[in-house]
Symmetry: C2
Subunit: 423 residues, 2 copies
């Protein structure tokens, strides 16, 4: 009898964790992703703010899995699932093809949601892939260049205003990083403009920043951001984003040439592929073993899945995806080995962290609410440790030590595509 | 009286060197470049072959010059020169404007030349900017991904053939780097294809590789490349490049999906801006002080200039640009200070190097022809030492040590622009 074939779609935290759980299984594992790398998304904001290179937080999936001989990595895009025939439709550069599976794990993450306002997209890029981070980096650095080249000082305020739409972790971390950059790294690099006059505006419809954290931590972060010079506008619903800025909060306009979308995400279309029940956000409802009801061979994990625990849906964070991936992989592994299924999935919350500029972070666990410099050190260690490959750990660690000591940023690089010779 | 204004166009080796020579001058120095960074082009092939990140060989011009308070950096594109009015026309994102100058230094480098065959361009990208290197990196890595995803093994040879058109230093260095990568880094990363079956083909019309080097070194490199498995086709004139490969050498087709242009370059259009005498290649003829005949206030340096010494034109290499930039800057500095002009420009040749894979390089000076491992160590030290900023030196050095010891590459990253979520 041929070995069973397990297809895992998505090389993020969930998919990779599922693949690793199956490393000793007598099965043919196929990991499919659109990109050739596993991206460490929690540090993506550091790429967007010129601290790190994309290469420092992205590990080739093939490198991560090269010793795992039962696993093949395929770069392709999934276009649908034929649940009845147990068959996945994929497209690569050349053609469409179909792959049959015995077990399927879908861990396809999220994409931005402009909440029905797709017209905002060109004026407010989000932060999800390496290419997104480079685009945001280009825009931020370019704004300073345009201001420096602009001889009419009346235009400077608009060019030097950055608006972050959404005060969740990404918005808060971006706001802190930009506010810090203009007061340290860029301080003496311009002649016509003073980067310290930059406005960083963080807006959200919610009544407080970091709504998923406890109120005391949220208040501490609010205070810290204001101390760094970030303007925070809460209860601010965005009505319009265009080339001239943001309009919201009942008709106020914030003139700005650089708006960054740090708000909503929506799950990738796994629910549509499966034609299955989803919540309003589009997440697929799964059973206690993370499989699709009625389809024990299909697992949905990570940001794509709706898993409720103690009456609340689990949040869309890396840890949840990691633990779910491990669980789904274990269910499949035990089934192949003819062993009984493991106990139903249960998420163990190791705590949540967020970082606000240099030397300050917060942590919240079931028992601990802390903020400050020591938490920031823990944050840095945890994040370095969790990078997928040893060389990235060394590289990011050294880059951070250097940035910390020098107040410089390693990658202040505007790369315009379709560039030509210098001049 | 206002300070004289010196405009330098181009932040490459020549322009930066000219700006630095003027650092103590009582003048207003404006450095204009299309990009925000100085790119260390001799290592660009390492970005294209996944060893280094663009950020490791690119230093922000503002960082390099941030202590030089008499100098303003402007990100803009030059569109013309009004020689009679001493006025430079520039365009930035928003508008066109004009800048008057007292002295002008043009160091605007080169762009590719497909020798009249611009139709080759989409099928054979070249290597000049950071964006180019990322494009070439994407294509090389993508070729392996396509082959791995291709179930018809008949297609594999074409996908796994890389053709380098032009056996100068860039072609030789790229060929060596690709040949090495397939035999080490990628060795165990694929399941359907064997990267060691990759063909690397280096073609040139010339009768030998590295024509600008002496014959003995050229022969040594030829032997070394063949030992690494590179196919070399000399006297091979290219007639056609299309999506299926290269045709040349009297009708032979080399089927390949990845062709890289490592052949000709042409100077940027400084000759047209100035409406001045150029050689057939488009380089501007300058006098012994590097100024334009009849215009002592305009200097042309680097790859854009034709400077003859001992009856031969100086080559388009970094050292020539550096020394010319220093000379032009010195002429201007002394003129501003009311001092006599320096002696006519004379290039001091410190030797040329080229590297072929790991642990092998050649050097040629007036007295020395050497090749081998020790030369490679010297090559590595010289190149690390010449990076513009200290942090890049540390970063590249550590990356090389790690790559050398592990046979891995740090940045095997396909970044597709307009990417979305994983899947």
């Amino acid at each position: 009898m041929a070995e069973p074939r397990v297809i895992i779609v998505g090389g993020g935290f969930g998919g990779l964790s599922a693949a690793k759980a199956l490393r000793h299984s007598p099965a043919q594992i196929i990991l499919i992703d659109r990109t050739n790398h596993h991206l460490f998304q929690p540090l993506l904001y550091q790429v967007a703010t010129s601290v790190l290179s994309p290469g420092q937080i992205a590990a080739p999936l093939r490198s991560i899995l090269h010793k795992q001989k039962n696993t093949t990595v395929i770069l392709a895009e999934v276009t649908g699932v034929d649940v009845a025939r147990k068959c996945l439709r994929v497209r690569d550069a050349d053609h469409e093809s179909a792959l049959t599976y015995d077990d399927l794990v879908l861990s396809v993450g999220t994409s931005f949601s402009y909440f029905g306002h797709d017209a905002f997209a060109p004026f407010a890029p989000g932060l999800k892939t390496a290419a997104d981070a480079l685009e945001v980096r280009n825009r931020i650095l370019h704004a300073f260049e345009l201001a420096e080249a602009e001889e009419n000082p009346g235009q400077h305020p608009e060019l030097l205003t950055f608006v972050l739409v959404g005060a969740g972790p990404t918005g808060v971390e971006m706001a802190g990083a930009i506010a810090e950059m203009v007061r340290t790294t860029l301080k003496s690099d311009f002649r016509r403009i003073d980067p310290a006059t930059t406005r960083v505006v963080l807006v959200d419809m919610a009544p407080r920043v970091l709504q998923t954290f406890a109120e005391d931590l949220s208040a501490a972060v609010h205070k810290r951001l204001e101390k760094m010079g970030v303007e925070i506008r809460l209860g601010f619903g965005v009505d319009q984003i265009d080339a001239d800025g943001v309009v919201g909060g009942g008709g106020q306009r914030i003139p700005s040439r650089t708006v960054i979308w740090t708000a909503g995400v929506k799950p990738s279309p796994a629910g549509q592929w499966l034609n299955s029940a989803t919540d309003r956000a589009g997440r697929v409802r799964v059973g206690p073993d993370l499989s699709l009801p009625g389809h024990p061979e299909i697992f949905v994990i990570g940001d794509t899945a709706l898993v409720e625990q103690d009456g609340k849906p689990l949040p869309g964070v890396a840890q949840v995806a990691l633990q779910e991936g491990h669980h789904a992989g274990t269910v499949i592994r035990r089934r192949i080995a003819g062993q009984p299924a493991p106990a139903p999935f249960r998420y163990h919350d190791l705590g949540n962290m967020a970082v606000v500029g240099k030397g300050y972070a917060i942590i919240e666990t079931a028992h601990i609410h802390r903020s400050g410099f020591l938490v920031w050190l823990v944050w840095a260690l945890v994040h370095v440790r969790n990078l997928a490959l040893a060389n990235l750990r060394v590289s990011v660690f050294l880059q951070w030590v250097w940035s910390y000591l020098s107040d410089q940023r390693g990658v202040r690089l505007i790369v315009e595509h379709k560039g030509g010779a210098d001049g």
